[in-house]
């Protein structure tokens, strides 16, 4: 039984805080998406439930909880129940290695500074990549176990899309890791502290603009969002892999999707946008800047969804393999050449 030190208490508190922050962020994203979609479409969106409609996500969750939990008779019961669990689990665990703030002593409560991160692994970037690859199983099992045409097609298409775009995702990651010189996200962020010429922050997005675009595009495709959401498009496939799900299982898939978005944005913030470093705030209060940057990326996510038309499936796959992957490879080569020539 480990001794109950303030450090242990702080670590448990961080785990609880991160978990609930993710849940709240999913709820907030529901509200943001609906209000922003409404604003883009010149209507008002939910404004009645609570002040400015802020309680709308909670009303949605309560409604979903009261729905009947259905299961098709011919569905494989074990896999049918397992699939949303896998999706949600992978979505939550990926955030365990993402740092969201500098070392802080919580205003002197702790004797030594503690990192704002659930687990500081020195191969953190690869862990995120690994958990993203495991997320494919939730979708493909949902499609298969539902035993229905739309679900199977949606599940297979969605998982094929995810594993295709993982390649470009990995190449963009590799390019920025050449700059950051480490696989640990904390060290990559610390490499972005400081300014050039006292004005331009040393964020990697200025050195790797193409890498950032590739990363965000692949991230959007990985999370089955925005122009790459053919497998779950209402107009094409009923609802794709989650057609046969209702009530809380459906809610888990949606939760997984929103939390994946948050994770991709958080990782992009750490890798490209300087993490928690920003003007006017010390590093120990850097989580405020982190939230602002993640919020900006999520805003772009939602904006993209309601502005761009959807890619057809074969266009989507052609784009991923024939355009994005070669660009990512060339970007990696160019970055390697640049690092070799200019030195890091």
């Amino acid at each position: 039984m480990p001794a109950i030190t303030p450090l242990l208490v702080a670590q448990v508190v961080i785990i609880v805080v991160v978990f609930h922050a993710l849940l709240l962020s999913a709820a907030a994203m529901v509200w943001v998406e609906r209000r922003l979609a409404a604003a883009l479409q010149q209507r008002s969106g939910p404004t009645r439930v609570g002040w400015q409609g802020l309680l709308q996500p909670f009303a949605d969750v309560i409604k979903l909880m009261f729905k009947e939990e259905l299961r098709p008779k011919a569905a494989d019961a074990l896999l049918f129940g397992l699939a949303p669990i896998i999706s949600a689990m992978c979505a939550f665990s990926a955030f365990a290695v993402v740092p969201f703030g500098g070392s802080t002593t919580f205003f002197g409560l702790l004797s030594e500074p503690m990192k704002l991160q659930v687990a500081d692994v020195n191969v953190a970037v690869l862990v995120i990549f690994a958990i993203a690859s495991m997320g494919v199983y939730g979708i493909v099992l949902a499609g298969w176990s539902s035993n229905s045409k739309y679900s199977l097609l949606g599940g297979l298409r969605s998982s094929a899309q995810m594993i295709s775009y993982e390649l470009s995702y990995g190449m963009a990651l590799a390019s920025v890791l050449l700059l950051g010189n480490s696989l640990s996200l904390t060290e990559v962020v610390n490499g972005q502290a400081g300014y050039w010429f006292h004005v331009i922050p040393k964020w990697f997005i200025f050195v790797q603009p193409v890498g950032f675009l590739i990363f965000m595009t692949a991230g959007v495709a990985e999370t089955n969002r925005a122009p790459f959401d053919f497998p779950e498009a209402e107009q094409e496939l009923v609802a794709g892999y989650h057609t046969e799900y209702s009530s809380m299982s459906f809610a888990m898939f949606f939760l997984a999707e929103y939390i994946n978005m948050v994770t991709v944005s958080a990782v992009a913030t750490d890798l490209f946008l300087g993490g928690w470093y920003g003007p006017f705030l010390p590093a120990s209060l850097g989580w405020i800047w982190f939230l602002i940057k993640v919020g900006a990326l999520l805003f772009f996510y939602v904006w993209m969804r309601w502005t761009l038309p959807r890619y057809r499936y074969d266009q989507l796959m052609a784009f991923g393999w024939k355009i994005l992957l070669p660009v990512a490879v060339v970007n990696l080569l160019a970055t390697a050449a640049g690092v070799l020539y200019f030195g890091v």
């Binding site: 494989d76 896999l79 690994a130 199983y137």
Partner: protein
């Protein structure tokens, strides 16, 4: 030590269930669980890079390939042979011999491993081998095999596409000649 036993037990039990399951989809999922346990064992062996690569490559890519093929061939709906329902040691001829051979192999390996001394050599207290060291060795000492594996992967990709492609030139068999 408890972690070692935990991960080891999960790996062994999951592997046993893989070869005992009739439904190939369950076999694939149980194998993924086994790979997860092996990944934990690699972390215990102070090899985090191999652990994460195991998840990315094996559990995340190869097993997805298996799952796709199983779904494509609709394999769970094959009729099970009568032979498969009998205990392995009571099946006819070759299968019984095979099961016995595997058991003999296990006994032989365990005998060879436990013969040299009752306690094995403990691990030296070395540091975690960093990814940097692995990368360095991979690109200097093992550079030739590394480039050859890239060739191997291209060959495998082309081969897999060619082998699995549907033959679209097929025009149908000609009608048998009338007597």
């Amino acid at each position: 030590m408890t972690l070692f036993y935990l991960f080891g037990a999960v790996a062994v039990i999951a592997s046993l269930l893989v070869i005992a399951q009739r439904n190939p989809i369950y076999s694939v999922l149980l194998l993924i669980a086994s790979f997860g346990a092996l990944s934990g064992l690699y972390v215990l062996l102070q090899a985090p890079f191999v652990a994460v690569t195991q998840i990315i490559v094996y559990a995340g890519a190869i097993m997805v390939l298996f799952l796709f093929v199983v779904m494509l061939l609709n394999a769970p709906h094959e009729e099970t042979e009568h032979d498969e329902k009998i205990h392995p040691l009571r099946r006819p001829g070759p299968m019984r011999f095979g099961a016995v051979l595997a058991a003999v192999l296990l006994v032989e390996l365990l005998w060879a491993l436990t013969r040299a001394g009752s306690e094995g050599t403990a691990f030296p207290g070395a540091d975690v081998i960093s990814v940097r060291a692995i990368g360095k060795a991979l690109f200097t000492d093992y550079a030739f095999p590394f480039e050859v594996t890239s060739l191997l992967i291209i060959v495998a990709m082309v081969g897999a596409v060619v082998l699995a492609k549907r033959d679209t030139r097929r025009g149908g068999a000609p009608a048998p000649p009338t007597p």
